[in-house]
Symmetry: C2
Subunit: 231 residues, 2 copies
DNA sequence: ACCTGAACACCGTTCAAGT
DNA sequence: ACCTGAACACCGTTCAAGT
């Protein structure tokens, strides 16, 4: 028995040689478990059936691995966007796909909120947004600035929602109940607006907020394009 | 000499008794050092001249301390907003003040991007934003949803910029140079839009992006108020 | 009543040793 | 050429012991 290695966890990985792709896929499996499984190099080693430090043979450090993992998830986002949409619906589809994927892999969505992967799938996302703002009628500096507005805003929005999923249940519960607890108990004299809207504030959903945020981005592009046409 | 305690680091804190306020102020001093000094309980003990674990006598855990520290920084934001502004300029002043304070205490700005302090200064910020959207003409559910759009968006925007300041210099340098490196080298056939805007994209500044993001929020409120007036 | 300090259960990463 | 595993320099938090 000790002489046949075929039944150990490690040898089950058929070939037992680590590859960048295998490490990225193991990372995605861990990331998909959300807050119940931290994305650490030690857990990654477990998932791969290898020593935790083995990944350093294939990635300079954890940050470089994260960028590769993130670029892979951008592939999922791109795959979710149908062909033949006009510029507004392309931005809407990108937003919806980004949110879905960020909530599927919260640790990735959260960590990338102020980053760039600098990798192929990100190039395609940039190309897509630039195509949309140019189809809307923007050029040169206007196109560049409005691309950044859309790209950075989408990253910030989905990153914000993704980060929330990583908090422990008790922290999330305390934050969520604040509208019906702390904000219900404020002094009506000092905070008349909060008091007046105390019934409506807890009712607002993340989906509503995300929707009007995305529409605000589209409106901003439209308004700028109209201003340019009129002058 | 050993009998007089007046020259030790600890006794310099006049009374040598820790208070929540002293801990919050020490936290702000560390946070203001940005990426060159991590905000850890051990460093906090150093800053206070006390044992690292002494803070657990005054705060349940590091998260509760963070919420108190964050609420204190919201006080700085509120102090920066002049009286007598109309609703648009109040939102602009809140945005500018939030960004300034978040960049002054990056670890706080970053950590609060998807949180609520549930504390007095935050109540005042919420009251301010609600007052602005109601002055613009929104009521009930519309006011609640647009308040959340403004509040959550400002947190996301300033948190995104603050988080960036916490990365190591080499990570920041690699991200910043991507427009003039990786994005300059893309295939012009496959990425015509990126190629066409390769000169403009690196020129866009964080200030420009922040400005149009805030104006987009104001426009969204204005547009909704006009729609309601017209029906 | 409050503070100390050892201890616990974690992190990412390096490097000499193995195969 | 690649993987292992001990080791290092960190984390936040608990708890028995001190004063």
């Amino acid at each position: 028995m000790p002489t046949t290695p075929s039944t150990t966890a490690r040898s089950k990985r058929a070939g037992s040689q680590l590859t960048p792709d295998a490490i990225i896929e193991a990372s995605l499996r861990i990331a998909a478990r959300g807050s119940q499984d931290a994305f650490t190099v030690r857990r990654l080693g477990e998932e791969l059936g290898a020593d935790p430090t083995a990944i350093y043979r294939h990635f300079r450090d954890k940050d470089e691995l994260l960028l590769s993992v993130a670029d892979r998830t951008l592939g999922e986002v791109l795959d979710s966007i149908p062909e033949g949409l006009d510029w507004k619906d392309r931005i809407r589809a990108l937003a919806a796909g980004s949110l879905e994927v960020a909530l599927k892999y919260p640790v990735v969505g959260s960590a990338m909120a102020s980053r760039t992967t600098r990798r192929p799938h990100e190039f395609r996302v940039v190309e897509l947004i630039l195509g949309a703002v140019m189809e809307a009628g923007l050029t040169g500096r206007d196109a560049a600035v409005h691309y950044r507005m859309v790209g950075d805003s989408l990253l910030a929005f989905v990153g914000q929602q993704a980060a929330y999923l990583l908090f422990t249940p008790d922290v999330r519960a305390a934050d969520e109940s604040s509208w019906s607890r702390e904000y219900r108990l404020v002094d009506p004299e000092q905070f008349p607006n909060i008091t007046r809207l105390s019934a409506e504030l807890p009712e607002v959903t993340d989906e509503q907020i995300f929707h009007i945020r995305v529409e605000a981005l589209i409106s901003a592009i439209e308004t700028r394009a109209r201003t340019l046409r009129e002058t």
